[in-house]
């Protein structure tokens, strides 16, 4: 009987990353397709209908021709849930994700977006210093690994906002900031998309949570009922702004609003907004302790 080595598992994770990156770029998830179809059904403006029908055509063409939905291959962002007993150390998981991202970029080939942040020179096939970006979560009493790949386009990422509200601003301050941010962003982040909001924690952690929020399946709700209620309320308010598809005016400004939260200091009230465009690309894999891959197991 052959023994599975950590090298084998590292190769399996690399293969998974290479597959996830391209797959995410080409085949958008079913929940997003459903949300876009519902948006098309309820939009009443002429320009908004033009945009949503074009999006629908585009998704079908990407399916038929096995092409990328959007040309912006983004920066690869991965979320990993690592079991306590998963046999590969996170340092090696990171190497595998980086190598898989690079391999997919070269083999497909995909546009490489990675540049040095000062010189603006390309740093490699969608990899570089601290690229790709990985969010980590560690799970006790488990031997598996879950990986989610979210290629994040720059049009939406440029529409990220942070405000250190004070406690006296209350929840009203949070709502106002989210509304102002999305109206100010207008058509730039390719609406209608997913508004991710991170509240509490610290400045850096609020933005991290906002990014986690955009990666959730569309329309899922925060487990805390108080936060879930705020998600519902903001979703309704954002769709009253009239920004509309691609910022040309209309009824559908956002597909959803997701919020992640953390407890915070008594004098802090941070709120971060991270936008995800309508092409909210996302793909997942589960890796078991033997390195077997099970794609599309959402978490």
């Amino acid at each position: 009987m052959s023994t599975v080595t950590t090298t084998d598992i590292q190769h399996a994770v690399e293969d998974a990353a290479a597959h996830l990156y391209v797959w995410a770029l080409k085949d958008i998830p079913q929940d997003l397709r459903d949300a876009l179809a519902a948006a098309k059904d309820r939009e009443t403006s002429v320009t908004g209908q033009r945009v949503l029908q074009t999006i629908h055509r585009n998704v079908n063409i990407a399916d038929d021709q096995k092409n990328l939905v959007c040309q912006d291959t983004g920066i690869a962002v991965y979320t990993c849930r690592v079991g306590e007993h998963f046999p590969l150390h996170p340092a090696r998981i990171y190497e595998a994700l980086r190598d898989g991202t690079a391999r997919a970029t070269v083999e497909h080939p995909l546009r490489s977006n990675a540049v040095h942040t000062i010189t603006r020179e390309n740093t490699g096939p969608n990899i570089g210093h601290r690229l790709p970006i990985v969010h980590w979560e560690f799970i006790a009493d488990w031997d598996g690994l879950d990986v989610k790949c979210v290629p994040k386009g720059s049009g939406s990422e440029n529409m990220s906002f942070l405000k250190m509200c004070v406690p006296a601003d209350g929840v009203k301050g949070i709502k106002q900031f989210v509304l102002e941010s999305i109206v100010g962003a207008g058509g730039k982040p390719c609406p209608p998309g997913i508004v991710g909001v991170g509240i509490g924690g610290s400045a850096d952690y609020a933005m991290y949570l906002a990014k986690e929020a955009i990666a959730r399946p569309i329309g899922t709700r925060n487990a805390d009922p108080i936060v879930a209620q705020l998600e519902d309320e903001l979703y309704g308010l954002l769709n009253e702004t009239g920004i509309g598809p691609m910022g040309l005016g209309g009824d559908v400004t956002v597909l959803q609003c997701h919020i992640e939260h953390a407890d915070t200091h008594m004098t802090l009230n941070p709120v971060a907004v991270n936008y995800q465009c309508w092409a909210a690309r996302r793909a997942s894999v589960h890796v078991d302790a033997q390195g077997n891959l099970e794609f599309d197991r959402e978490f």
Binding site: I55, Q71, R120, G155, G187, K188, M246, G247
Partner: protein
């Protein structure tokens, strides 16, 4: 809201003047791909573009391409993989000189231009076309061929010449008569915000 078909490059300014904000447009002919670094080179480094931009339609893009061959001087030819459109607002400051110095008549991108583009577009007879951002798979099928590439060292932010067929649907976002859909949408959204804030 009317529908139009326009072939670029144009020679008759009336082709632009007939377009009104909100109209739907389909484009034929040739369009030029351009992006941040391309325009920084032209205007901040003062290097004339090696392509004629008179009457041109510019597309804010940086495509996914495959190099298929190279001539004796090292100039490549490329085939399309996936070509889509980027956010225009970053490049708004180049609008006036593109029209005034090079005769560009149309700029196409996604997300719109802020209000500073309205005056030069009216004065110079230019138009901004809104494309559906992210709809690159469709856009790629409407680009028949990459006919020319200049400044390959800026890859993928080179100067690209594409031959297109039935490129669109585009929406006139800013017309040559001082109208901007983006201005109007922002104005009414800011009013709406006041009402929403009062309800919170």
């Amino acid at each position: 809201m009317a529908r139009h078909e326009v072939t670029f490059p144009i020679t008759d300014p009336a082709e632009i003047l007939k377009l009104r904000a909100g109209d739907e447009v389909t484009v034929q002919g040739h369009i030029i791909g351009i992006r941040d670094r391309t325009q920084i080179r032209i205007f901040d480094q003062g290097i004339d573009p090696p392509m004629n931009l008179s009457g041109a339609f510019l597309l804010h893009t940086a495509p996914n391409v495959r190099k298929v061959s190279e001539d004796a001087e090292g100039r490549g030819t490329y085939e399309k993989i996936c070509i889509g459109t980027t956010t225009s607002a970053r490049m708004v400051r180049f609008t006036e000189p593109l029209g005034a110095h090079y005769g560009v008549r149309a700029i196409c991108g996604k997300g719109g231009f802020p209000d500073e583009a309205i005056e030069p577009m009216e004065r110079l007879g230019m138009v901004y076309f809104a494309i559906v951002g992210g709809a690159a798979a469709l856009e790629t099928t409407q680009i028949e061929e990459i006919e020319e590439v200049a400044w390959e060292e800026l890859m993928p932010e080179c100067l690209w010449k594409f031959r297109v067929k039935d490129f669109g649907p585009l929406t006139v976002g800013i017309d040559a008569h001082g109208n901007s859909l983006y201005h109007d949408v922002q104005e009414s959204a800011q009013e709406k915000l006041k009402e929403l804030f009062a309800r919170l």
